[in-house]
């Protein structure tokens, strides 16, 4: 079964290509996917097929599939009608129709999702397919997205059914937790009982009722008629709206005995049937009439399945089959009328019956089934339904029966109105229509004949459906499907319905206009408007549009939250040290002075130099603390930062712009000091609160035995916490990409990220002069020392495992070497030094690092696990190779790439833009 779902998925992927290649005929090919499903299902009549694949075992989500009788019935309908409607679509759309490829893809994807839904045995899997059908339905309703009505209807259908779907999911979770399993066949075998179950039932029914357009959710279905008619025939008559009914039918035998189940379904079902049936009588648009008829019939199905007895279940299954056949036929007929005559308005159509006798015959066959004439399937199902409630043993059965009889009378009346409206002669009008191609007409023909055939074969079919009905608790005499039961009560009711329906049609002009007590559509509109208003108010209140405002709010929350804890329950330590070595105080004074002066500085460059000074101060603190790696990196980063900032600042005005008003400045200073005080307090308390032995206590030993290195910090980076480093270099790649995309303004300009060769006029010699205006001496000197610096950076990289250094420090040194080349000779020198795309270096680094991790995994270890190789090589001596060095090489490359990218964008490209701007 999973394979069949996969076939649909594959077909959906290739469908657009097929349509481009074969034109609209490709739909025949696409129809093969549901056709294969149909053949597969028909070959397994009366079997129960199960499949199971593990998916997310921890959450109880597995790919459990099961096809019992009810699933089989739905699968046959979904696949069979899906294939026929696809074949019908070939003629429905004109050749070269815009978006036909998309239509074919989404349609077949929907068929696959629908098939998955009806054979899913896991509640979560069912939910996934359920929502997939919702999404595909959205796409199909908005098949022509340029029309506002389509977009609106699609959104409405999406929102209403998704809301129900979410409620259903919550219901599933309650049900599954109570049962201890999410596999439906297990829940069915061992149903849970308990107080929460009523809530689960109500939530699940919310999903089912909204999907099947039952009152009060019925409004979305008529709007969804904005879809192309084949879509309406399939989704909104035969398949998707049946999902809700299917769910009711599936869960009914098990949950039907729970209190809210029966009354809720009977009441909403009968009410929907009557309201929609009445509304259908008043429609002038044939398609809308069918849509309201569908809502009415869905109400009937819901009520019948809601009866929750064996005979009602059997009647429901029979009606389900009958409705799918006759309603899709009628929709397809309306589609043909619409395309050939250009109208669906019954006041415009006249004389079509004489001109298109074949079409009229098909419609009459389907209409006879809808009205419940023997020996059609519609008659068989309706008889069974009447019998189930006539001989029922529960309270309210007779009231439901009365509702069904009145509803069926309405059905007969609007059926007659439909046939009359579409085909009868009307005074003073004639509709012209071209002849209909037989390969178009054949598809509704097949469906109409099928409705007659299954009715005639009601007995053997009933034998199959009995297996579903017997899941309900037995009660009274078992009913069996047949066209002729003798002169019984239900037969009398059927005759009554036909006569009354005919009379109602005859007196149709004298019917009073009855409105719905309230319109679900209006409620939907009001809720949507309310949501929009709420969103505006909420956004207006919180999104003030000012960055300092947002930051201020966040920081105030920090001060209030952490400050409150500091004043209140924080464990203040008893003792403190003034310093570890008195040198720290000297450095600290320097940092403090530089930081305060940076805040007060008015010139950009002064401020940046002061910030850099405080950064160097922090590097000295690192040395004093016993962190040489940090100090090395901090020195290098501060230097790189200053260079970078200077590169940009040379283009910006020397002074900061005028400060704003004094009060806001005082507010900023107050907030800053408050944050500073809270941060200091937090440091004091947090450090004092440390009591346990740090996890890093065993790191030195681990570093040597597992990491194969003496420099503990480096081993932590490339081995013990290598995942952190992996995340970090990814951030660096993203940052570098962001810088490049901000500076290079067009995609084509990104080519310059590779570097631009020097100016024309012959390549400069190795120690030759650069372009005029730059210091030759400086260029020559940097060229001489460049290789030494790069060599040093490689030394840092390789020695980093056992001494201060490593990929970060090495990469930064190499980056600074490039920086020096750039500063001395501009972009030509930079390109000469590194004639390579910065993006390539970044990507290569990331690949090397990730590849190291993956290789370790492929070799059978954990991701990023380190292997240590010790070998004695002749001449060279002992080789001690630790595989994490490759990870560090990746880090090195990423850092070099970042620096190169910065030089190319913030340096060379800004130069170029300034030159271009004059």
């Amino acid at each position: 079964m999973l394979v069949l779902v996969g076939v649909h998925a594959v077909m959906a992927v290739v469908a657009p290509g097929l349509v481009r290649w074969l034109g609209r005929r490709a739909l025949y090919v696409v129809a093969l996917a549901p056709l294969a499903t149909l053949c597969w299902a028909l070959a397994r009549t009366n079997d129960t097929v199960t499949e199971s694949y593990t998916w997310v075992a921890q959450l109880g989500i597995d790919l459990d599939l099961r096809m019992a009788t009810l699933n089989w019935l739905l699968a046959v309908l979904v696949a069979g009608i899906g294939a026929i409607v696809l074949a019908y679509s070939v003629r429905y759309f004109p050749e070269g129709q815009q978006g036909l490829g998309r239509y074919a893809a989404v349609f077949v994807a929907f068929a696959g999702a629908m098939f998955g839904l009806v054979v899913a045995d896991n509640l979560f899997l069912l939910y996934v397919f359920w929502e997939l059908t919702t999404v595909f339905s959205y796409l199909l309703i908005a098949q022509d997205p340029t029309r506002r009505a389509n977009r609106w209807a699609a959104t409405q259908a999406l929102l209403v059914t998704t809301l129900g779907g979410l409620a259903m999911l919550a219901g599933f979770v309650i049900l599954g937790q109570a049962a201890g399993t999410y596999r439906w066949s297990e829940i069915e075998a061992n149903p849970p009982r308990g107080g929460h179950l009523a809530a689960a039932v109500v939530l699940i029914l919310l999903g089912a009722l909204s999907k099947s357009a039952i009152f009060p959710f019925s409004f979305w279905l008529p709007s969804a008629m904005a879809a192309p008619t084949p879509v309406s025939a399939y989704l909104h008559a035969a398949a998707m709206v049946k999902a809700g009914v299917f769910l009711v039918a599936l869960l009914g035998p098990t949950l039907g005995a729970d209190p809210p189940w029966r009354p809720l379904l009977l009441a909403t079902g009968v009410l929907t049937m009557l309201l929609a049936g009445w509304t259908a009588l008043r429609q002038h648009d044939l398609k809308l009439m069918l849509a309201y008829g569908t809502v009415s019939q869905l109400g009937l199905l819901t009520a019948v399945f809601g009866g929750s007895s064996r005979n009602a279940g059997l009647a429901g299954a029979a009606m389900l089959l009958a409705h799918a056949l006759f309603k899709s036929t009628l929709f397809l007929v309306v589609g043909i009328i619409d395309v050939t005559t250009g109208t669906r308005d019954l006041r415009e159509l006249s004389g079509l019956g004489r001109r298109q006798p074949a079409l009229a015959a098909i419609a009459i066959l389907a209409g006879a089934s809808m009205a419940g004439l023997p020996p059609f399937m519609g008659f068989v199902g309706k008889e069974a339904a009447f019998d189930a409630f006539l001989h029922g043993h529960r309270t309210g059965d007779l009231a439901v029966l009365a509702g069904l009889v009145i509803g069926s009378t309405l059905t007969v009346a609007y059926t007659l109105r439909f046939l009359w409206g579409a085909f009868a002669d009307k005074e003073g009008k004639t509709t012209t229509a071209p002849p209909i191609a037989p390969d178009w007409l054949v598809w509704p023909g097949i469906l109409a004949v099928a409705g007659l055939a299954v009715g005639a074969a009601a007995k053997p079919l009933g034998g199959s459906l009995d297996r579903y009905a017997d899941l309900f608790p037995a009660e009274g005499a078992a009913y069996h499907l047949a066209v002729w039961h003798g002169f019984t009560g239900p037969l009398g009711l059927s005759v009554l319905v036909l006569v009354a329906g005919g009379a109602l049609f005859y007196y149709r002009h004298r019917l009073p206009r009855l409105g719905l007590p309230f319109d679900g559509s209006a409620v939907y509109q009001r809720v949507m408007n309310g949501l929009d208003r709420l969103a505006v108010e909420l956004t207006g209140a919180t999104q003030r549009g000012s960055l300092p405002f947002y930051l201020g709010v966040i920081l105030l929350a920090l001060v209030a939250g952490l400050g409150g804890i500091l004043i209140g329950p924080a464990p203040w330590p008893d003792d403190a040290r003034a310093w570890d070595t008195s040198l720290q105080v000297v450095v600290a004074v320097g940092i403090v002075v530089a930081a305060v002066a940076a805040v007060r500085a008015l010139r950009r460059l002064t401020a940046m130099v002061l910030v850099g000074l405080s950064g160097y101060g922090v590097a000295v603190l690192f040395i004093l603390h016993g962190a040489p790696d940090l100090a090395l990196t901090q020195f290098l980063v501060e230097t790189a930062t200053i260079v970078m900032v200077v590169l940009v600042l040379r283009r910006l005005p020397a002074k900061f712009s005028e400060r704003t008003i004094r009060t806001s400045r005082l507010g900023r200073i107050a907030l800053g000091i408050a944050v500073g005080v809270v941060a200091a307090g937090m440091t004091f308390v947090a450090v004092g609160a440390r009591e346990a032995t740090p996890v890093s206590a065993i790191f030195p030993e681990l570093a040597v035995s597992f990491g194969g290195g003496d420099n503990v910090v480096n081993v932590v980076l490339v081995d013990i916490r290598a995942w952190d480093t992996m995340g970090e270099i990814s951030v660096l790649v993203v940052a570098a990409t962001g810088v490049a995309s901000l500076i290079f303004r067009r995609t084509e300009a990104l080519q310059r990220r590779r570097g631009v060769p020097g100016p024309a006029g012959g390549p400069p010699g190795w120690l030759g002069a650069g372009p005029s205006g730059q210091s030759i001496i400086l260029q020559v000197v940097t060229r001489l020392i460049f290789h030494a610096i790069v060599l040093f950076s490689v030394f840092l990289l390789f020695s980093g495992h056992n001494a201060p250094g490593g990929g970060f420090a090495g990469g930064l040194v190499a980056g600074l070497a490039l920086t020096v080349r750039y500063l001395a000779g501009g972009q030509a020198e930079l390109t000469a030094a590194a004639p390579i795309d910065a993006g390539m270096v970044l990507g290569a680094g990331l690949i090397v690092s990730v590849g190291t991790g993956v290789l370790a995994m492929l070799a059978g270890g954990q991701v990023l696990q380190t292997a240590i190789v010790d070998k004695h090589l002749p001449v060279l001596g002992d080789l001690h190779l630790v595989t994490s060095i490759f990870f560090d090489i990746g880090v090195y490359l990423v850092v070099v790439g970042l620096m190169l990218d910065i030089l190319r964008s913030l340096g060379a490209e800004i130069d170029r833009q300034e030159v271009a701007a004059g």
């Binding site: 029309r147 207006g540 450090v687 940052a735 901000l742 850092v895």
Partner: protein, 134 residues
């Protein structure tokens, strides 16, 4: 562990200076604020680890080493700050190229929504219906 007051003071000053600059509207000032804040955070993390000799096996006895874990975290943070600085610089430059200054302006769209909220109106949906054939 007893806290080192020198670190506490340095953290406080760096945070205060960083926040004051961060709340400015000039992007270059914001950038410097971020750098100062980052340094402050690094010192904060450093303060949480033990003081001692370089954590390199063989040069320092295990029980006299400074705590290596906070150092690894800080090292990561330093390099990320470099990437962030570059990005902010690019933003500042881009802003200057586009509007002639590197100040953060208020978001015009947000302003419009605030005005809508004050007039008690819903969002104006610009839903153009380019009526196609159907």
């Amino acid at each position: 562990m007893s806290p080192n007051l020198t670190y506490v003071v340095v953290v406080g000053v760096l945070f205060a200076a960083g926040v004051i600059l961060l709340l400015e509207r000039t992007l270059t000032r914001v950038l410097m604020g971020v750098v100062l804040l980052a340094n402050g955070v690094n010192v904060l993390i450093l303060a949480g680890g033990r003081y001692g000799g370089p954590p390199i096996v063989g040069t320092t006895p295990d029980d006299e080493m400074s705590d290596p874990l906070p150092q690894a975290m800080i090292l990561t943070a330093i390099v990320i700050t470099l990437g962030l600085t570059a990005f902010l610089l690019a933003l500042a430059y881009r802003s200057w190229r586009l509007v002639g200054q590197d100040e953060v302006q208020d978001d015009i769209e947000d302003r419009r929504i605030i005005e809508l909220a004050e007039r008690d109106e819903g969002p104006e949906v610009e839903d153009v219906d380019d009526e196609g054939t159907s």
